[in-house]
């Protein structure tokens, strides 16, 4: 029978191979699923891994969807390295979008381009404030951050609904629940004319470098991670666990809020009830698949963006529900966690009679 045997030291090779192995497992399950649904598996696969690369427009869309995933994923990676379980990035993203919209709605015909900076800062602050609630309740009342951050996602959704159905509804919008379309001055500058990819993608890629420096070259980043890996050692060294908690939540909340601001002032250009598109949850998968490493997250955010675009293409061209994306996202994280076992254990074959009483 097969048995798991603990490795003397975690395998570095497996830690990088595991995401690829998990992707392979997900693809195989995907092929079977396409066949079961009566679709050509090769064509299904092409929707996810070939079509999203064809042409400048497709590549631009890939970057547009990767932008929020990358920004949020970086913040969450820092958070999880500190062993703080913020899973409410979706709510922090929504608050960022709301705060950025609040600034954008103050713009008039004469407003300068500086307002984009103000709007992004407001977005980051909005996400931070939402995450600060989680930090406060954990710090002061020891309330579980998983449940609090998640409950705040539902609260944020309702707040968004209140604003777009109520005070912020566009009076000339035929009663649709949405704000006015943002003025030209408040929009994130695009990188190429005719393509939706904007400065947000550049900011997200620059953030990869910044997070790498903070995590691996700065003392504060080191302190944060020691607290996550070995709380007792961190206490002994005099590193404050409270500071780690607040840093982790404020940084991850701020990044999610910033992503919300880029999203609402970039591709969307107005606040609607459809702003929460699940990026905050998908970014959790992005963070884990990217090994909580900034460079890894750059790749995994692009991979997750492929999943989104593939799901949309499978809907429009193969007539499959778009929710296929969610199925594959969940499967990917599941297979990753299973494959990660191979980092710490090796699989050994042992004949059954040699292991009496094995349960």
């Amino acid at each position: 029978m097969l048995r798991l045997e603990a490795r003397a030291a975690p395998s570095r090779a497996m830690s990088w191979l595991s995401p690829l192995l998990a992707l392979a497992v997900t693809v195989v399950i995907g092929l079977v699923l396409f066949a079961l649904l009566g679709k050509d598996p090769a064509r299904g696969l092409a929707m996810f891994f070939v079509e999203p690369f064809r042409g400048a427009y497709a590549l631009s869309e890939l970057a547009v969807k990767a932008t929020p995933l990358l920004l949020i994923g970086l913040g969450l990676a820092l958070c999880y390295r500190a062993n703080v379980w913020n899973i409410g990035a979706e709510g922090q993203f929504v608050l960022g979008a709301i705060a950025a919209t609040w600034v954008a709605l103050h713009a008039g015909p004469g407003t300068g381009r500086w307002i984009v900076v103000a709007l992004l800062a407001a977005g980051a602050a909005g996400g931070m404030a939402w995450a600060a609630l989680v930090a406060l309740l954990r710090d002061r009342a020891n309330a579980n951050e998983i449940l609090v951050s998640l409950m705040l996602v539902y609260v944020a959704d309702q707040l968004l609904g209140y604003l777009v159905y109520g005070p912020w509804k566009d009076p000339a919008g035929y009663n649709f629940p949405q704000t006015i379309t943002f003025l030209e001055a408040t929009r994130i500058p695009r990188l190429f004319t005719g393509l939706r990819v904007n400065a947000g993608f550049v900011a997200a890629v620059l953030a990869v470098g910044a997070f790498w420096l903070f995590l691996f070259r700065a003392f504060a980043g080191f302190q944060l991670q020691v607290g996550g890996l070995a709380p007792a050692a961190a206490r002994y060294a005099g590193f404050s666990s409270r500071r780690a908690l607040w840093t982790a939540l404020l940084v991850s909340g701020g990044m999610a809020g910033l992503a919300g601001a880029f999203e609402v002032a970039g591709p969307l250009q107005q606040l609607t009830p459809y702003v929460p598109a699940g990026y905050g949850f998908a970014a959790i998968i992005v963070a884990f698949v990217g090994r909580l490493h900034p460079v890894g997250i750059l790749f995994s955010s692009l991979l997750m963006s492929l999943f989104y675009i593939g799901g949309e293409l499978a809907q429009s061209r193969l007539g499959l529900p778009k929710s296929l994306t969610g199925v594959f996202q969940g499967l990917l994280l599941f297979s990753l966690l299973a494959c990660d076992t191979l980092i710490h254990y090796r699989v050994r074959w042992r004949p059954r009679h040699a292991a009496p009483g094995a349960a």
Binding site: V327, Q329, L333
Partner: protein
């Protein structure tokens, strides 16, 4: 007067979903396993139960399908967490995300479906009592089932040998292993039972409570049920009490709207989530309270040496 009787009845009905799921998660956690996949399990069970009820016309078969789907989903988590030693939080989260996607994918064909009208249930004799009849004795049998489950579970955990073994596994898997108990199988059994109960709760939601399939219809009830186990400090009776409390908060919004209170509906919809946060913070403030009943090995992996 009658409006209040209906409010009590609706509260018990709404609380039943949370109670069944919360009691299932309590079984999980008493064995040391946190199941953050509850939301996804309930969603998959909701569509499985609803689809089964649509095709067979039987709500009880629907509950059965929900229980099976719930146990299957939880089983995947159990195998990964117990045998592959994966992180319990991450695995549960994966299950929730997967369940959300899978239920939406399968459910797309059932969005327009309706279930045939169900005969109203009434306890003979008691149902005609003034006020109490409407408030308490015209409920779906599962409402009473949830109450019986809480009582049964309290008895099981405190008074039976199997219940004590389950708690031992959650308190100290090392000691239970040393005494010769198959810790991992007991944990898997607890996870399967908890998943099945979450499944029944999900199916009750889509087959009886709503009764419709809407994408994402569990709307955080799985997470609230998880908060309930902490709120209840891992005691079955208090899970039931907490479930009715949250059920009441949910119903309050409809009651206030019916009374003509001029508050935007979104603020009222926030109430259950905000009260979950508030209650969680209040209970967690007192460490002694939490520690008294919290299974000591909760969330920690156990890997018996070779």
């Amino acid at each position: 007067m009658d409006a209040y009787a209906l409010l009590v009845a609706a509260t018990l009905n709404a609380g039943t979903v949370l109670a069944i799921a919360g009691l299932g998660l309590l079984v999980n956690e008493r064995a040391g396993i946190v199941n953050l996949g509850a939301e996804g399990i309930m969603l998959v069970a909701a569509i499985a139960g609803f689809a089964c009820a649509v095709h067979t016309g039987s709500e009880w078969l629907g509950f059965g399908a929900g229980a099976l789907a719930g146990a299957a989903m939880a089983g995947a988590l159990g195998v990964l967490v117990i045998w592959f030693n994966t992180n319990q939080y991450a695995t549960g989260l994966a299950l929730s995300l997967f369940g959300g996607g899978l239920s939406a994918f399968v459910g797309i064909g059932y969005v327009q479906e309706r279930l045939p009208a169900r005969p109203h249930f009434a306890l003979p004799g008691l149902a005609d009592l003034p006020f109490l009849g409407t408030a308490l004795f015209r409920q779906h049998p599962l409402v009473y089932g949830a109450m019986a489950l809480a009582a049964g579970l309290a008895w099981f955990l405190a008074r039976t040998r199997a219940g004590r073994v389950l708690r031992a596994v959650g308190e100290s898997p090392e000691s239970a292993h040393a005494l010769g108990y198959p810790v991992r199988r007991i944990r898997l059994a607890a996870v399967l039972a908890g998943g099945a109960l979450c499944g029944v709760a999900g199916a009750y939601l889509s087959v009886v409570y709503t009764p419709l399939w809407v994408e994402g219809m569990v709307a955080g009830k799985g997470w609230i049920a998880l908060a309930l186990t902490t709120f209840a400090t891992w005691r079955p009776g208090r899970v039931l009490l907490g479930a009715y409390l949250f059920g009441g908060v949910t119903m309050l919004q409809f009651h206030l709207q019916a009374e003509g209170v001029q508050v935007p509906s979104q603020w009222l919809t926030m109430l259950p989530y905000l009260s979950t946060i508030a209650v969680l913070a209040l209970i967690s403030r007192n460490p002694a309270w939490i520690r008294a009943n919290m299974p000591a090995s909760l969330g920690k992996p156990f890997f018996p040496g070779n």
